[in-house]
Symmetry: D2
Subunit: 508 residues, 4 copies
């Protein structure tokens, strides 16, 4: 009867039993809210359980025999499935211990957690999950960068209007715009990679804030788990890092989502009846139950919806974690749920966006006609007056501005305009005509020539854009290497862990 | 009469005059909302005006004589004051041109803007402003890191409780906690420095989205303005970068503010009558008009208020910039205003926080007493049972847990507890006593010994914390060098610009 | 062969089939993102399907026979389950039509949607869902108000400190504080009820923006669905209202969650070892896998996490819906998902909070001791000097302030202070002692008497707080009636709908 | 020398002097951050100072003579200016006391604050400021509602496309759309008015949380300050209400700003070269320094920028106020600053938006042409087939959908389509032609007839829209009355206060 507080190991469901520190079981209503919150982290925690056991044996904290028994039990759980077997015994951060104690009893199984706490368990789980999300994101970003540059190369001469304030600004090419999109993703890759470096540092062995008085070898556990380093200070590792680490991921995700939502809005705008710049294939579109003519661009709208969710994940993390140091702990779960959901969406949405572009028909003729209809190349008429008539830029600018106003007032469109009107404007401005021929004027306003004249670094001429593509492709190759190195390093760690486990299990 | 549209140069207030492109002057109600928005960027724009002129002369876009006249006029404005003279002529992005045309006429002055647009003007202004904010922030962060480590060294043996969930967790030292704080700032420095690299790329010469057909040398202008590189694609430079660049700064600012707000909350909590861990000097405090006893901790509360403003600056930027590419332009002004305000606050608040800590009295005795009163070191009693009695960790943990519950149920505090109670718990758990002496138990629960036992990497023992301090100081030294290099490079660019200007003005 | 485009009715999955308006089936990746989004709205849509059919028959848009067949089919689906049967045929807004066409063919089943669109289908679904969330919220609020007032009545004399800035301010009672909490919920009820009125207006019959040219009777459908009114303008109903209606609910939810999170923080603070004002029962608490002494207050932490989610739901709605009128449609799904999740949590969390308070032990002695230890009643010593010595309030205030500073400087606590010290302060201030007896001073500083002296309206004296309780209880009774009226009205509508359906089905 | 702590009244700058409760003056760096924060609330606080004095005299807390002296002094300050005189003596909440003590000495002047605290001072200031913002907002909303309805009446027959998903949906009229806009503002008015009722409750006399033991008459002070009621519980008044009151205003402001930003986006979209639905007058527009053709729609962009600021003000308030009850106090200042700035903008922006619409040219012909070009009226061709050919709606819908797809595949636009094509579609769908004449088809697709056919409640027919206008105008009249009642009540209170002050000053 005196043994009653020690549970039957076969039914062991964790240290927080009624009758130990606390006198009541946890409230079912609360369990329902909280349970399962950490179960998506079980695979990395399964590895941490192994790595910690290996390290314990190597450091003499655990006999080889006990270590072997624990490791065999953990490996055994893999048959049923890492997640399945752990959820069956209650799930959560401590499901490894729960499984092992059920399997081989508390005398040996109860040694697995020595020198560890929920603090480093959850932090290892979080950091590994986050690095996985970052790696998946970096891969998707690189796929998208490659696609955009290849797509760009097909449209080096597809002239289209560039806009500011929703108004036509200057001619550029569709390919040039795609290069700009790829350039933006390059910075996203960089942000992801830098965040990866900050996150891939090991909290293992930091326990709950001060490490342990047992001879934990944090470097060894870090090595077995693929971390690049360990934190110098355990309180930093557990109490601080879980804070700024958790804030940073939603932020880098939000920046890329903001950009993707912008592209989605471009595609929706370009698909209106009024613009007709692009035809999105029917499979990305819905129709209407009442308006039979409707073809609604659904894919990009999803991305825009998700982008609002990305911003909101920053708010959840920032607001939820407010308070004195480590005051907010459970609140982290809300932040992570929101962040991880959006990181998973990112990969789907980025691939979808590229596929949609690839599948769409770019209305080359309509783009060109539109670019030539609303004075988009006016800048170069000003430039021509500077070059050929020696006018100061501002003088030329004002004269062309007056001419466009006069055309508008008289209901003339770009194609109706004459060299006389330009002279009228010049005279109105400073008393002297500029004396261009009609041919000179038309050629100065031609959007195709506008685009080809910009051969400077960063310009729109086809050859220059090809140069840009080459530069950006070179950088993707570097970033792909960086990513391969990361993956190799993680695979290496996995192998090291397997070997170390085998060595112990097999009597090494 | 025909010359009426050309303004008297002495009254020139900019290209958007009534009668040129548009027929009406800008609405006063709108001017009032918008005017002055860009005036804080006038100093960097003043330099861009010079650098662009120098580059024009060097590229043969402008005669040396015209260049010299423009540069003399710009230098002349400095007597009155860069901001003052420009605001007098109307202010804003184009105030350099306005000033020069007023000064030397449109024929020459009107040439300054050739190959440029409001796009690169504002982007140069924004990027320089943002790099300045980042540099000021990095300096403040380094000052704070140094201070915290020096402060830490004074408190290597000041034992205090560490908390999670607002409950006492384990003993640590005040110095150890300060090292953790400094470690967190190290990551902020890194984020700031990485953002700096992404932001310090030159938009000059990208004009509004596609550069120019004049032979602009973007590398030269970048060099004269201290940028580290130029963008490969001008649309990226103007249409994209002004988007993700503007999103990133509020995010890195928000992360550090979140951390500072956490420290502020710690200080406020530690200052309550119930905790009494720290005495903040009166000069940081207010009192009450009705409750004479009140000493309200005002300084930290300001930091917490500003932290809500930091988060809100992300929201302003993210929401304001939503929409198709370059659809939102004016909205950027709202984002920048919010961001720059919070970056200026950062420097003040971070210095204030350090000063406040430095000036406060740490209640060393109270901290120690508190750490010994609520079982903070219980972990090590469990550890002792593992080491000395060969119990599995989980068994030891459960036994000590039961003992603490029994003590609580019987109204015993930590100091009242006896080895018999521990045995009672052990028996209740698994039928066998553990048989510690009272001395063993007291020593296992001693918070000072707890702290000193943690000699592992990342632990709390004084010597180990001193080691951590040394590591972190080494990294500050590296980061200070990084920062000096940045500042040297910027000073260099300034000198190059001055020399190039002189060469032209003095007939080089 | 020519009939191939008309689907076999038994396989009908909706109007957006490949070969009708669009040539390709919807992309599986997108379906996966979108599918099921509207399925939680199926029960109200099931009723709308019936009400619309009834109205069609009554208006002569549909023959009685056809109407009866459609209604029988719809009623038939209830055997399988409204949601189950509809999900089986493809789910979504149009699942009623899908079910009926499968069941009785397109000739009759294809008539159900006449004069309707996805616009009013989804808007009816949304508005009914939201009114249900609001009703559930209002009920939970009223339960909580009643509980808090009853709980308050048990603590009319439980003196405790009130705080501002985290510092003890003035004595009050636990009961008084609970009345304040209940008062706050009264405003939440009011906000919910007012939002209910704005939301419970019928979009049925507004179709997608302009209603129909068939003789739709919108008032009749509204009556059958329990709406209080119909919108005067259909574009307002569909294009606008889905916008501001969707913004308002997350806002009223956020206000109450902010308040609940504040109470949660109070409870966590009160549960620290340093405060010890309240003992939360073990079933609301977790412990630690390493720190055996830990009792972590989990329940309130969940509420705080959810509160960050509440704020984020505003952000999702506000950001997701940005853009030109009805530009964002799918984005609404993200907003609703976030909002409805938090509304469901509200009911659980509010009940949990009340239950936790009810189950907790209020440490009456500790509360009183604490209130008497840090000068919380100092205000009344000042008041006493005003009343008995004729000092100006400011003079009295400064003198008591000086006394407290002197006590602090000399290491004296409240219980050590003497009338001489007060005189010393008075002399220091203006040269004259105040001459109180020790008894007068002690009595002026007594927190129990402090509380009882406040008999004014809104004060803390037990009798006055009882009066407040009575007032607030009276208002709950009114609000319960308001809620019953709402529920009666909804039940009435349900009955009317059943009768009208029966009349048609049974041949009226 | 002993009197040194009592300041020379002529230099009195407030109770928080060095040497009273605290030993050091407030830090200048902090003063700089905080000073002036409350100075915009000085006018309502000036009235509260008077009302509190009047009430003190009436309640016998203050002799009539002393009251008269204080009131004379306060009235005297008005010559210099309420704000100016108060800022001169140090500013802030207690500047009335500071002014009076300087003027007439501490013996009398020091009595003004009896029974009051910074808590009710700031709460009265905040509530009055907020009710003023709400009243100004309600007036602006009513002006806008009237304008939109009058504007609508001019465009009852201006047919234009309505959109969803950015795609043309169905025809409606410009006037109908304006009625929908006005309808939306009606709900904003209601929200403002309801928030007003919750905010216009008096905190005066609640002191810092528990009122006073002096015989304060809270109802009297409330009456003199124009409040509609007093709170039943003083802790609710000060500790809670300052929380939910502060959260509610930014929320109702954000909802209306979201709507206004949507209209701004509509106007910008309608102003593109591709849409050309509306010509915004030049005075609301900017041009470009490089692209002479540009006419940028600046006014609406400002509103969109401000809308991001509105959302951010919710975030500042919600985040800043997080924490235990009354833990956050200074943070409120950040929330109020953000909120009040956006409330002031609201009035400017709403008037600007109406003025811009009024001044713009609606391109009636372009709107009609566009509506007839992309099948916007297709719905009614389906309806015609239902009515005239007895098809089920779904059958008709699918047939018309097929026809539009066939037209698109064959490069036919709406005007090219023939009755034969419709028959081809019908045959393809179910093997039978529908046999319409060309005339029937053209008439079914006519947008003008589409609009006129919708005579149902809420429809687009001119007469029905005129009915809607009449209904909404009637409601504005009611709301204007509600607003006048509010203003009358406030004016009444002002008069009562003046009379009560005179009665005392003039010896009653």
């Amino acid at each position: 009867m005196k043994e009653m507080l020690k549970q039957d190991p076969r039914k062991y469901k964790g240290y927080r039993s009624s009758g130990i520190r606390l006198n009541e079981p946890f409230m079912p209503e609360l369990s329902k809210l909280i349970d399962g919150r950490n179960n998506n982290m079980l695979p990395p925690i399964h590895k941490f359980d192994q790595a910690h056991t290996v390290m314990q044996v190597e450091q003499g904290m655990l006999t080889r025999e006990a270590g072997a028994a624990i490791l065999k039990s953990l490996l055994g759980s893999e048959k049923e499935g890492v997640i399945e077997s752990r959820v069956r015994v209650g799930g959560g951060l401590h499901s490894g211990e729960q499984y092992v104690i059920r399997d081989i009893g508390e005398e040996i199984g109860g040694q697995i957690h020595l020198g560890r706490s929920s603090g480093d368990l959850s932090s290892v789980g979080i950091n590994v999950m986050q690095r996985n999300k970052l790696v998946a994101g970096m891969k998707a970003i690189n796929r998208a960068r490659r696609f955009l540059l290849e797509f760009a190369a097909q449209h080096l001469q597809t002239v289209m209007p560039g806009y500011t304030f929703g108004q036509q600004g200057q001619p550029l090419t569709f390919g040039y715009q795609m290069v700009a999109w790829a350039a933006s993703l390059e910075r996203d890759f960089e942000r992801f990679a830098q965040t990866y470096r900050r996150i891939n540092v090991s909290p293992a062995g930091s326990a709950i804030m001060v490490g342990s008085d047992f001879p934990i070898d944090r470097d060894r556990t870090a090595e077995l788990l693929g971390f690049d380093a360990v934190h110098e200070n355990c309180a930093d590792s557990i109490l601080n890092r879980s804070m700024d680490d958790i804030l940073e991921l939603p932020m880098v995700l939000s920046i890329i989502y903001h950009t993707m939502a912008k592209w989605a809005d471009d595609i929706i705008l370009w698909s209106t009846s009024e613009f007709q710049f692009i035809d999105v294939p029917d499979r990305y579109c819905g129709s209407s139950s009442i308006m039979m003519q409707k073809k609604n661009i659904s894919g990009p709208a999803e991305i825009k919806g998700a982008s609002s969710y990305a911003l909101s994940s920053i708010v959840v993390a920032y607001h939820g974690l407010k308070g004195p140091t480590a005051w907010a702990v459970s609140e982290r779960g809300y932040a992570l749920e929101a962040t991880w959901r959006i990181s998973d969406m990112l990969v789907v949405h980025l691939d979808l966006l590229c596929q949609l572009l690839k599948d769409s028909r770019i209305n080359v003729d309509k783009l060109l006609t539109s670019t030539g209809s609303y004075w988009a190349a006016a800048t170069d008429l000003g430039g021509y007056l500077v070059r050929e008539r020696g006018l100061a830029w501002r003088t030329a600018h004002q004269i062309v501005g007056i001419m466009i106003r006069l055309a508008e007032e008289r209901g003339l469109s770009q194609k109706d305009v004459t060299a006389e009107l330009l002279d009228e404007a010049a005279v109105a401005y400073h008393g002297t005509p500029v004396g261009l021929t009609q041919e000179e004027m038309v050629s100065a306003l031609d959007p195709v020539m506008f685009v080809e004249r910009r051969t400077m670094k960063g310009g729109t001429a086809a050859a220059e854009v090809q140069r840009q593509i080459n530069v950006f492709k070179g950088r993707i190759t570097e970033d792909e290497k960086l990513l391969r190195d990361i993956e190799d390093r993680l695979a290496d760690a996995d192998q090291k862990l397997s070997k170390a486990v085998s060595a112990i299990v097999n009597g090494g």
